[in-house]
Amino acid sequence: MDSHSQVLERLRTGFRSGITLPLEFRRTQLTKLLALVKDNEEQIVKALHQDLAKPKFESILSEVEIVTNDLHHAISNVATWIQPEYVPKNLATKLDDCFVRREPLGVVLIIGPWNYPLQLLILPLVGAIAAGNCAVIKPSEVSSATDCLVAELIPKYLSQDCYAVVRGGAEETKALLQNRFDHIFYTGSQAVARSVVQAASVHLTPVTLELGGKCPCFIYGRINIQAAAHRLVWAKYFNAGQSCVAPDYVLCTKATRDALVPALTTVLEEFYGKEPQKSPDLSRIVSARHFTRLMKLLEKTKGKVVIGGQSDEHDKYIAPTVLVDVEEDDVLMGEEIFGPILPILTVEELEKSIELVNRKEKPLALYVFSDESSVVKTTMENTSSGGFCSNDGIVHMTLPGLPFGGVGASGWGSYHGRWGFETFSHRRACMLRGWALERLNGLRYPPYSDDKLKWLRWTTSANSTCSLM
């Protein structure tokens, strides 16, 4: 097993050799990555099931499909993305070539989390490869089966001179971060993110942080409660609530709550049957530690359980649970839940709900369910969040045209599709001038005069569209 510095040396040499720059290389590597996912779909599903009891459907949809889509998107578009971008000029530079070149940064580090262990590791990698970088990939040790699988498959498909997988726990990650990278892409928790940025600041390494937060879900105004309940349940209990963009808690009026709870009960039964533990479509909690954390929350909460509440420690199973009468200062409102527990807070006015949300940290996603567009508009305009989705949950991150990222405590930077490519690129401003018009240049040389100044003001104005030219 190579040490970190050996791995980095190898990758740096690989990068310096220029092998990652040509379009063909990037496309080939992306195509190989696509083959990796397609050829090993069964093993991937199996590993995910081992780690999180992830149902096959969820694995295909949220890990295989989303990665495949992004890879197709990158393979078709990378040729366009790497083209120099010509920009508008002012009069003084009208005869010059002004363009922006996208250049790779070098050797980047991608640290993945355990909840979508394949997607959240490979999607950044797609951007890194498309941008022409070399990459060190560090999967999460908590999702150990996927960790193992990734470490085995990546060297088989991708160039070993340019991409390496490094495994290990918290200690190894800390040691890895001591090294110098050209960009660090971290998905995970805020606490660890702080130490990542601190380690990065020593080398002035730029970072992208995909963190989490409590994603609020507003339900106000006129509403088709059945449809809303379907989408809410799907988004909340997907992966047993262990999604960074899962609706964390609901805010609604008392009347809405009274209509919502029975709707939720019906939908939950529709989805998972009368005994959710027996349903093949529900995931489990990833580890004993997280199971205990969630059980403690259920113990300490002052809210009332109206649906679910059952659990099985041996199976790491927690039933899809809904609580009402949860207040703002409840223990469930203190941290990101990241589990199949849905508190409903009763707030009569939309404005007060918005104020409540604005008192908290900016979340990664914000959801509004309403048939009234004014409710949607008001909520959107008076809050801030990484992403916003009305009348649905999670799906906004499946569109490669939309940047996926947080703001404030929920993160820094974005990716998906072209955004991933841009994240891992340096936009280099290039201006190619000629030798002629040295006389025009004379305007800026000393000895200075008032006249020169007047001309200069005119030629450098951004709007100077001279009819002579």
Binding site: P55, N441, Y448
Partner: protein, 509 residues
């Protein structure tokens, strides 16, 4: 500590009140800033003369014109920049609204530098205002007069609560960095840049760092060396070399080194006269500390041009040194002064290796007439920006992103880039609760048929815009039209028993 906290609290409250959000307000503030620059040009010039001996012409040239242009551009384009930006959809979202909405971040901290005290604080401020943020402005204490003037002027023109100015030195900056901002925009040196990022880590605040480095300047032996030297001389000695994108050192082949020195000497004579100390257009070093630092870099070397200095005025003559060894102190740190070392390299390849062995610079300058060679040099190196056959000019085009890479910085600004850098690009998907039947495929309990339907609906892109499809579409259209015409002809012939051409052929004999 208390004062900085108060000012931040006030700015935050003002931001939360929502008054910085409407476009009319932002435009009004930008107009006010524009008026400030125009009305107070004389005062600003005077302050700069006192701070750094900036000549009366250098001020508008180097600072005010670019600030004015940035403001004008922001005013003109604000509505466009702030509008929602639609993006492509997939089959699943075909009837939804999908767009990116730029939103303000909150309260931005702008830390300026002393070498261009006005441009480096106000240009970020223009972007901050345009993006709808509040901003705490902290000009550098080393440019004392400018700092005090800004502190006096800004509240007279702009909203007092939203855009406070904090003056002071290192300790005030440290106090500010302990507080929580929504973005920190820092211009300065790499060492301090690391401390800023470390402080920002505590609150997970994103940063933009505009740092420096040694910007190399390669002069090819087969180019117009005289013009090259004129341009380099201008860029190097303007503001007395205290520019983050000044050509730091020259790389050239030994055969033209002598020429380069002579042309520079000629140009210096033309620009500043025989005694630059007496020229009103030549600046001074900012303070004693930097004067000493720069003088010590020269220790042990005999310059071929200049070398004189006057400690009482913090004056250092425009100085050129040749045959400088790569490991000398002069080549270890950013000079940021009027010393121009020439390092010889055997050819362009050697120059490329020299550049790549060192940290990524903020700017790279290439003087060369061979297009292929220029392309090669750009492709085999990296830097914040590049200007070919001139120096610093890429800074003046606001549509080009200005920023560093690696040790020279992170993030970019100017024009729309500042607006984007200081905004949050919020991904928005507006769906309706109708058409729930379409959604059923993604709900459990799951089976193969449902799964297939969902996979198809999520496929993206919706329309394949690759070249192959385009060619296929064109060919298919041509074939289609051809077939259609053939069909028409056949029909006409079939129905054309009474057609005149048949008559003339004597069919109707």
């Amino acid at each position: 500590d208390w004062m900085e906290r108060q000012l931040l609290q006030q700015a935050k409250e003002a931001f939360v009140s929502g008054r910085a959000r409407p476009l009319e307000f932002r435009l009004q503030q930008l107009h006010a800033l524009q008026r400030m620059i125009m009305e107070k040009e004389t005062e600003i010039s005077t302050a700069l003369k006192q701070d750094i001996s900036r000549s009366q012409y250098d001020t508008p040239l180097l600072e005010l014109i670019s600030i004015e242009n940035e403001i004008k551009l922001a005013i003109e384009k604000l509505a466009q920049w702030a509008a929602p930006r639609p993006v492509e959809k997939n089959l699943f979202t075909i009837s939804d609204e999908v767009y990116i909405q730029p939103e303000p971040l909150g309260v931005v901290l702008i830390i300026g530098a002393w070498n261009y005290p006005w441009a480096l604080t106000l240009i970020p401020l223009v972007g901050a205002i345009a993006a709808g943020n509040a901003a705490v402005v902290k000009p550098s204490e080393l440019s004392k007069c400018s700092s005090l003037l800004l502190h006096a002027l800004l509240p007279c023109y702009l909203d007092k609560d939203l855009y406070p100015v904090v003056t002071g030195g290192v300790s005030e900056t440290q106090q500010l960095l302990r507080l929580r901002f929504d973005h920190i925009f820092y211009t300065g040196g790499s060492t301090a840049g690391k401390l800023v990022m470390e402080a920002a880590a505590r609150h997970l605040t994103p940063v933009t760092l505009e740092l420096g480095g040694k910007s190399p300047c390669y002069i090819d032996k087969d180019c117009d060396v005289r013009t090259a030297c004129r341009r380099v001389t201008w860029g190097k000695f303007v503001n007395c070399g205290q520019t983050c994108i000044a050509p730091d050192y020259i790389l050239c082949e030994p055969c033209i080194q002598g020429q380069v020195v002579e042309f520079i000497r000629e140009t210096l004579l033309e620009f500043y006269g025989a005694d630059p100390k007496c020229s009103p257009d030549y600046g001074r070093i900012i303070n004693q500390e930097h004067f000493n630092r720069i003088m010590s870099l020269m220790e042990g070397y005999t310059p071929v041009v200049g070398g004189q200095s006057d400690s009482s005025q913090w004056y250092i003559a425009p100085t050129v040194l040749k045959d400088v060894p790569p490991h000398s102190r002069l080549m270890q740190e950013e000079i940021f002064g009027p010393l121009l070392p020439i390092v010889t390299v055997s050819d362009m390849e050697d120059a490329i290796n020299f550049i790549n062995e060192r940290e990524k610079p903020l700017a790279l300058y290439i003087f060369c007439s061979d297009q292929k060679a220029i392309k090669r040099m750009i492709e085999e190196t990296t830097s914040g920006g590049v200007t070919v056959n001139d120096v610093m000019m890429h800074y003046t085009v606001s549509s080009l992103p200005f920023g560093g890479v690696g040790q020279s910085g992170m993030g970019r600004y100017h024009g729309k880039h500042t607006f984007d850098q200081l905004s949050h690009q919020r991904a928005c998907l507006i769906r309706s609760l109708k058409m729930e039947r379409v959604n059923l495929a993604r709900y459990p309990p799951q089976d193969r048929r449902r799964a297939r339907r969902v996979r198809m609906a999520l496929r993206s892109p919706l329309i394949d815009t690759s070249k192959r499809t385009l060619i296929w579409a064109v060919v298919a259209t041509i074939l289609g039209i051809g077939l259609f015409i053939t069909l028409l002809v056949i029909l006409l012939i079939a129905a054309g028993l009474n057609c005149t051409c048949w008559y003339w052929r004597g069919f109707y004999n």
